[in-house]
Symmetry: C2
């Protein structure tokens, strides 16, 4: 496959290279050779109009054919072979093994939704008629689900495959019967184009209206605004920073017609270490937390950012072990030079906060690499500096030493929403764990016991979301089979003859 | 029971009568004797703060106890006896039989949610652990649901019981485990207070934290703003006009933390009359449509506002029958004098639109009563006057004569979102009905065949919602047992010991 640098607009590749841009080879810190065409307003308009047009046929496509389409996309992604892995590694700096794993997860996600479609895309609810009921007869009513319409998706920087072009949002929207207009992430446009080529081939092989998928390249903010405010766009999926997410949210708020906005924004993923756990497994736990923090150079959305416990005689053992583990970490490359810069600025600014102490740093490396940082503070400082509750994108964690149970309760009360929290405890900690679990549950989308938050299982019982700012819509998950529900809505059919009912609702 | 005119703030009745207001006796068109205290900012703040506080215990209350609470509310509403019926009739002008029926529905709704809670308030999803899985072990994950927190509810004018103080929003929020801060409708404050007295008694009998329910009286818009922008309020339910609903939506959009807003706003409930139906059952259908239109003096949210068909030799039969039925209707009282005025203004303004013809009017009555109106127009006029697609609150319908199937398709394309649409057809119309059903489905929350849209069944398969402006959140229903999902959100428990899991998720 060769990279065209163009936008895929409903099956046609087009682009004006006078406004071209290139990504950066993350490890080499130099521009990639490929040039990409910033999409024009006309191209975006065409993509959305053709998606809207395709909705008429695609929303009627039988579920088994949508399943076949999803599986074919997966096959075509695998068929891209090493070229995809090499491109993604170059653009993101992530190692080959990680990209291979992420490719497996991406193909697996497509398969999960295909399975769901084959098993029956939803469970209908039926209430039979009763002509004899008093005072009025009861009608026959059946509850089913319809796709929403065109979905705008914004790719994430940190998962170039699993949360990008053919990632979870795209897979669940296509599964639901919704066409997708995908805004590629400007940090990995080559990876995006390769995957779009795979989707385009799958569209041909499955004989589907090409309007069902378009890929929009660009660094231009106006593109994003055009997508989210377009009257034909009926839902938006986004994974990224709170800052950019809230810009999109505000634009969506200006629409005359409200639409669902699924923004996964920020999370510090608090860790709660109970007394007996600290007394008995301090060193192992510290090493495991550091290993979890370092995954993807701290760029996982579930990275453990705040580690809390009530101070005790065991505290120093944990802190020494954690410091030693941090000090042993090698410097690493981040997804983009801008992200590395931003990370370094945050670490520097934390060092200047009174009451925040830098416990340990990882090894330094070449200039555009970043080193891990472990800070420690107390609740008074934490309360006085709300910046400490904001997600740091990169390998930085904050230990929060609490004086007593009351401070622990106060800390939980202060927490904003998070994707996850984890309780680290032994059986002896059960009473305290219960207290923590009951209150922390209201702050998170996933509550974990004695496991690390990184690593999100793709399954039916997963919830990847949570109270704001973890998600702009805490009623939904972006991972797992329930994610399809974001792009469907209920419809009741009353007294409908069998011939006019969807297949799943027929007698 | 006597009416205090006060606000119920977490079990305490309070109010400053210097800013008092009274409702209007609708039939007599004169002020009711009772005076109500416009709630102060402090009272609203207290109500919300106490609701937030009560959430800690109420969200933990076992489902069977929440069920008992709901049933007790129902019993206490019934125990109010004729006083409630008389008050509601006086304040709304609705006849006693209608209020008695609505009381039955309200108590039935409470019972429906109680049944749901007793049967298991949600269906957990389980994925078992697999320690042997490669390359990584699979954790145990279980998906459950948590209540959102404090819910603000705004009562509807047209259903003083079923969509008001202890109506569907309140019942489903309380069922989910959410405290409710209820803003009474200023047109029926006495009815609201009586029902609040019943809820207050149920709270005492069930020994529940009184913060779980507050009733806010008032005509003051600042109250509404204070409720929907309060950081402790986590969801809002509203049934009313598009104008007021969008004011609330815009205020909610200003919040730093987005929250769900369930606004049921406007719907014209289009009727599609097929050719053979028109040829064979024109008169009966016309009479049935007029009867449906006249329910509650045209103040049902599912009132059939637009009747469409392709013109044929049978059209005059239908139009003559409909005109005769309209002409035979007596003048009726509306919920408030202001609504009657607004209705009359709309009817007058439609009469001045070129291309819109007044086919028939109902009988006239006393000055503050309203008479039915039946208009007819063509697609060109309909397209040129978007006002014709807005809901008219009152007994007014518009016949839309279409030239051919192409105009029919164009009309469907123009439609905004609606709560319902109905297809009136015979077996001979099946092919055309299928075409209409497939496209109209995307514009409505409920699609009906050969029945009238008025009358919303309260059951598991009901959907009362739909694309905007029918609802501000088309993924949800405000009627039926699925309504509880509006006030819950998913949470995944990973590797959790049995002791720390909610009852429904334990092994």
């Amino acid at each position: 496959m060769s990279i065209s640098g163009k936008n895929l607009i409903a099956g046609e590749w087009s682009g004006d290279f006078t406004k071209g841009f290139s990504a950066t080879n993350a490890v080499k810190n130099e521009p990639m050779p490929e040039v990409f065409a910033d999409a024009s307003e006309t191209e975006v308009e065409q993509a959305i109009a053709r998606a809207h047009q395709a909705f008429a046929s695609y929303s009627q496509l039988p579920a088994v054919q949508r399943a076949k389409f999803l599986r074919t996309i997966g096959e075509q992604i695998v068929a891209l072979g090493d070229e995809l892995v090499e491109m993604a590694c170059a653009e993101t700096g992530l190692p080959a093994m990680r990209i291979q794993g992420e490719r497996g997860r991406t193909v697996g996600q497509l398969g999960l939704f295909a399975d769901l479609l084959e098993q029956g895309e939803y469970q209908g609810v039926f209430d039979a008629a009763d002509a004899e009921r008093q005072p009025l007869p009861k009608p026959d009513t059946r509850l089913g689900y319809l796709p929403l319409g065109v979905v705008g998706v914004f790719a994430a920087s940190n998962f170039p495959l699993a949360f990008s072009t053919a990632g979870g949002d795209t897979a669940s929207a296509l599964a639901a019967g919704c066409p997708v207009v995908m805004k590629a992430h400007a940090a990995h446009p080559g990876t995006a184009e390769l995957v779009a080529q795979a989707i385009s081939k799958a569209i041909e092989l499955c004989d589907i209206d090409a309007g069902v998928f378009s890929l929009i390249q660009g660094k231009n903010y106006a593109i994003a605004s055009q997508i989210v405010t377009h009257p034909m766009v009926k839902a938006v999926g986004f994974t990224g920073s709170e800052r950019v997410g809230m810009i999109l949210q505000q634009q969506i708020n200006q629409r005359p017609e409200p639409i669902p906005f699924y923004g996964e924004l920020g999370s510090v993923n608090p860790q709660f270490i109970m007394a007996d756990k600290l007394a008995t497994e301090a060193s192992t736990l510290a090493e495991n937390l550091v290993a979890s923090l370092m995954m993807g150079q701290g760029q996982f959305c579930t990275s453990p950012g705040i580690w809390s416990y009530v101070k005790s005689v065991d505290t120093p053992v944990f802190e020494q072990a954690a410091s030693a583990a941090i000090a042993a970490t090698e410097a690493g490359v981040m997804l983009t030079p801008a992200m590395a810069e931003s990370y370094k600025k945050t670490v520097a600014s934390w060092q200047s906060i009174d009451g925040v102490e830098l416990l340990a740093q990882g090894q330094s490396g070449v200039a555009h690499f970043t080193q891990a940082a472990l800070f420690v503070t107390d609740l008074t400082t934490f309360k006085a500096n709300t910046v400490l509750q904001e997600e740091v994108f990169g390998p930085c964690a904050l230990i929060l030493r609490l004086q007593d149970e009351q401070e622990l309760a106060e800390f939980i009360g202060l927490l904003k929403g998070n994707l996850t929290a984890a309780i680290h405890a032994t059986d002896k900690d059960m009473a305290q764990s219960r207290t923590v679990a009951l209150s922390v549950a209201h702050k998170v989308g996933r509550l974990i016991y004695n496991q690390m938050p990184t690593g999100v299982e793709v399954c039916a019982s997963m919830n990847h979301g949570g109270p704001f700012p973890a998600s702009t819509d805490l009623r939904t998950t972006s991972v797992g089979s329930e994610a399809i529900k974001r792009f469907q809505r209920p419809i009741c059919y009353q007294n409908m003859p069998n011939e006019l009912l969807p297949q799943l609702l027929r007698s």
